[in-house]
């Protein structure tokens, strides 16, 4: 790795796990979130457009659904092996949202159609400008929106299938300090800012072999997000300006494909328990290449190894109907990290994550459902080194998410 940028004072862009694991948001439906993001096997509402397009044709009529989440992530860094130094990311609140419209047609109730707009990847990290890892990352912010028109067909009472086309839009902004100092001692800095887009698809099947049991399988494809003509801007001492020209860059960020197998069982008329096994193909993320339009001795194209590994997450959730108009949910999940030792970087200090969720839905009148959910995520404490930058430390990340939403049944 070092050799690839040996001519450079700085290996600009060590970082950019941009669309990495910590940025995967599992918040595409509140009821599902409240059950640790299970939902492949059970078509609760129109948000099944994301969770399993095959479930859409099982809904009863059309629905409109909107919700917003408030995500408050926090990462703590501690210098290792010992030290007087620790740092914490600045408090930020992200607001990924979901919009769905869809359901079964009145005249052909075996056919479901719908449109979903959701945010499967997003969030960000912001460290203090002068923190110890500033030459690797100062901040990263990522937004993505997937727009997914979907059709679904109920072959019979036991089997339904569905498919959605995904058009993905994204925006990424990465900032870091550059180790070139002004006469007054201040660091130079660099910013990458770019818009991305890509396409993909979402396939699903739901099977109900017996009345109380439902099984779902989905495959959300890999989405290759392409950034063309992103802007690379630098603030450096005048004498080095020619070495760090403001220029354009292009890159490809591969959002991994996800294969999920889910099972749901209705133990009593009031209690449904769901389990999902989710395999994410992070392995597509083996390296990250940044291509600058203008190259100089100090600004070389970068090729950063990532070597992510595929992961399998396990999710368990339960829905309990207290009365007809009120249900409560809870869930637990284990979400292992795709990042190998040696590649844990501070813009995304990923570690195995443990998830606990609760939530409730309430229907004051028959046509309206109000939904609310909370999620608490805590990671393992991870002693890690980011080898390409020789940056070591112990990290722990936590995130609190609160979500509120509203569904209208036509």
């Amino acid at each position: 790795m070092k050799k690839l940028c040996v001519s450079a004072i700085a290996c600009f862009l060590y970082s950019t796990g941009a669309f990495g694991a910590g940025f995967q948001l599992n918040l595409q439906g509140l009821r599902q979130l409240a059950m640790a993001n299970t939902g492949t096997a059970w078509p609760w509402d129109v948000s099944t457009i994301f969770y399993n397009p095959g479930g859409l044709s099982r809904l009863d009529g059309m629905q409109a659904y909107a919700n917003i989440n408030f995500v408050m992530p926090s990462i703590k860094y501690v210098q290792t092996p010992t030290g007087g130094y620790s740092a914490e990311t600045k408090a930020q609140t992200f607001t990924p949202f979901n919009l769905y419209v869809g359901g079964t047609l009145k005249k052909h109730n075996k056919i479901g159609v719908g449109l979903g707009i959701y945010t499967p990847f997003g969030s960000g990290t912001k460290w203090d400008d002068n923190w110890q890892g500033r030459y690797i990352n100062r901040s990263i912010a990522l937004e993505s929106y997937f727009i997914q028109p979907t059709v679904s067909y109920k072959i019979n009472e036991k089997i339904s299938v569905g498919a959605g086309f995904i058009y993905a839009l994204g925006h990424v902004n990465i900032q870091q300090a550059l180790p070139v100092q002004f006469a007054n001692g201040n660091d130079g800095s660099g910013t990458l800012d770019g818009k991305a887009n890509g396409v993909g698809y979402n396939l699903g099947i739901q099977v109900k072999p017996i009345k109380k049991l439902s099984v779902g399988i989905t495959y959300r494809s890999q989405v290759k997000m392409t950034v063309d003509n992103g802007n690379a801007t630098f603030v450096v001492p005048t004498s080095l300006a020619a070495e760090f020209p403001n220029t354009n860059f292009s890159t490809k960020l591969h959002l991994p494909g996800v294969f999920t197998l889910g099972v749901g069982y209705q133990f009593t008329p009031k209690l449904v328990v769901l389990a999902d096994v989710e395999m994410t193909g992070w392995k597509v993320y083996d390296s990250l290449i940044f291509d600058y339009k203008t190259n100089t001795d100090q600004l070389a194209d970068t090729h950063t190894p990532r070597l992510y590994q595929n992961t399998t997450a396990i999710r368990l959730g339960a829905n309990y109907k207290v009365i007809n108009s009120l249900s409560v949910m809870a869930g637990l999940a284990y979400d292992p990290s795709p990042v190998k030792d040696g590649y844990v970087s501070p813009e995304l200090p990923d570690a195995n994550r443990y998830v606990a969720t609760v939530g409730a839905t309430f229907s004051p009148i028959k046509k309206i459902t109000i939904l609310a959910a909370m999620e608490f995520v805590s990671s393992d404490k991870r002693d890690a080194t980011f080898l390409p930058a020789n940056f070591s430390g112990k990290y722990q990340s936590t995130a609190f998410t609160g979500g509120i939403g509203f569904a209208y049944h036509f």
Binding site: I9, T82, G84, S86, G133, Q181, N390, Q396
Partner: protein, 435 residues
């Protein structure tokens, strides 16, 4: 109603939401860092950019170490600080623009031209001592037993309590160290090397290589004295100076010619059998052992950073005229330097073993710096200016370079004394600053 309840709960859990991991408390192990004394030469004093100045002293590696030692019971660390930042006695070098003989203006080292805040620099401040940092620029190992050394050295003269009568070792003993670092010996070979080998081997002059027997005896005397009251410490060995930018920046094969230039030079040197080709050629250097008084350089020989650039570019040095020998370290001189470095380092290793002290193998560490070191996202190497570790004089380090050295010293301390003193954040300090 539900909503309000949920968000009330959210507020409660938010407080308990954040990670509570904390740094492990450093421990001092079986060393006592109460009174730390650093004994050494210019490297220890914080010398950089060709001179000594206040901010360089404040960023000396002993000062950085003392800062870390405070986490495990270390006390105050008093340095003989200069009043100003311009450089004493000569101004420091900074990066700036200068125009060469060909009319090209380029970025490079120039003398600092700002405020001369050096008033009072030569005033003796011995009464403010004794000092914890007794690093003296220019001091050799063999000088430590010379009474009245301060009379000859302007830096020692500044802060020794009785410069004209004391031995340097006396000044080092005044603080009664509980812990010490000893980094001496580099000047016992450096003076010879930076003068292009103009001195002799086994001599006592500033441009000579010190006699090994005197070096060994003095070194042992210093270690005996420092440890006489049970102080613990580390001995730091001497880097192979042929790896530093002072010797490696101007390449031996640095004579770049066009075809026409190569042809005419080949014609001129035809009688002595030297020919040139288009592209990079070895410089012509003075060699008094050659029958004609000059020859072409070989790989493994070095041109000093102090060689006047304009003479190379416009006065025909290295091509039409040989580069004078005081700017060249020839193969036999390189061998003398390396043999002496090996011998001195052996003497240091032997002294360490005899006293049960660890050696910080700085020689090996500087060699790893040749191929490059990355620390927290910043690349460091021995390359002049862009390497970030060496200051503009090509011999001494930048504050970040000193911090890298300090961390390497800390590693040895931690390993030997079972302490867990935290590493220094190298990038907290300055590297080279650009206009």
């Amino acid at each position: 109603m539900k909503k309000i309840y949920l968000f009330g709960l959210a507020a409660i859990s938010l407080a308990s939401c954040k990670s509570k991991i904390t740094p492990e408390t450093p421990v001092k192990g079986n060393a006592d860092f109460t009174t730390y004394v650093s004994v050494g030469n210019s490297l220890t004093s914080g010398y950089a950019d060709g001179t000594l100045y206040r901010s360089g002293q404040l960023n000396s590696y002993p000062s950085m170490l003392a800062e870390q030692f405070k986490m495990v019971g270390g006390g105050d660390f008093l340095q003989p600080l200069l009043p100003g930042d311009a450089g004493y006695p000569s101004p420091k070098r900074v990066l700036g623009y200068s125009t060469d003989c060909t009319g090209v203006t380029a970025l490079g080292p120039v003398y600092y031209s700002g405020t001369m805040d050096t008033a009072g620099s030569s005033t003796n401040i011995g009464a403010q001592g004794p000092f914890n940092n007794v690093g003296v620029p220019g001091i050799r190992c063999i000088d430590f037993s010379i009474a009245g050394y301060g009379f000859f050295n302007p830096y020692a003269k500044r802060f020794y309590a009785s410069p004209t009568t004391e031995r340097p070792i006396d000044e080092a003993l005044k603080k009664r160290a509980t812990f010490f670092t000893l980094w001496i010996g580099a000047n016992d070979v450096l003076g010879y090397a930076t003068s292009g080998g103009s001195g002799i081997v086994n001599g006592y002059g500033q441009s000579d290589i010190s006699p090994l027997s005197v070096f060994t005896a003095t070194y042992n005397m210093v270690v005996d004295s420092m440890t006489a009251h049970g102080a613990k410490g580390v001995l730091i060995n001497i880097p192979d100076i042929t790896t530093i930018p002072f010797f490696t920046t101007i390449p031996a094969k640095g004579l770049v010619l066009r075809q026409g230039q190569a042809d005419s030079l080949s014609a001129a040197y035809h009688p002595v059998g030297i020919s040139f080709t288009a592209g990079a050629n070895y410089f012509i250097i003075q060699d008094t052992t050659s029958p004609v008084g000059f020859r072409q350089m070989h790989a493994g020989e070095y041109i000093l950073l102090t060689t006047p650039q304009d003479s190379l570019k416009c006065a025909g040095w290295g091509s039409l005229k040989p580069i004078p020998k005081q700017y060249v370290l020839s193969a036999d001189e390189v061998a003398n330097v390396q043999t002496a470095t090996t011998n001195f380092n052996q003497a240091i290793a032997t002294a360490a073993q005899a006293h049960g002290l660890p050696v910080v193998d700085m020689n090996s560490y500087i060699k790893t710096l040749v191929s490059g070191i990355t620390f927290n996202g910043v690349n460091f190497s021995t390359t002049y200016v862009t390497g970030g570790a060496f200051s503009l004089d090509g011999v001494h380090l930048t504050p970040r370079g000193y911090a890298l050295a300090a961390n390497y010293i800390l590693l040895t301390i931690n390993n030997t004394y079972k302490s867990t003193i935290p590493m220094i954040d190298v990038n907290k300090y300055s590297g080279l600053r650009f206009p």
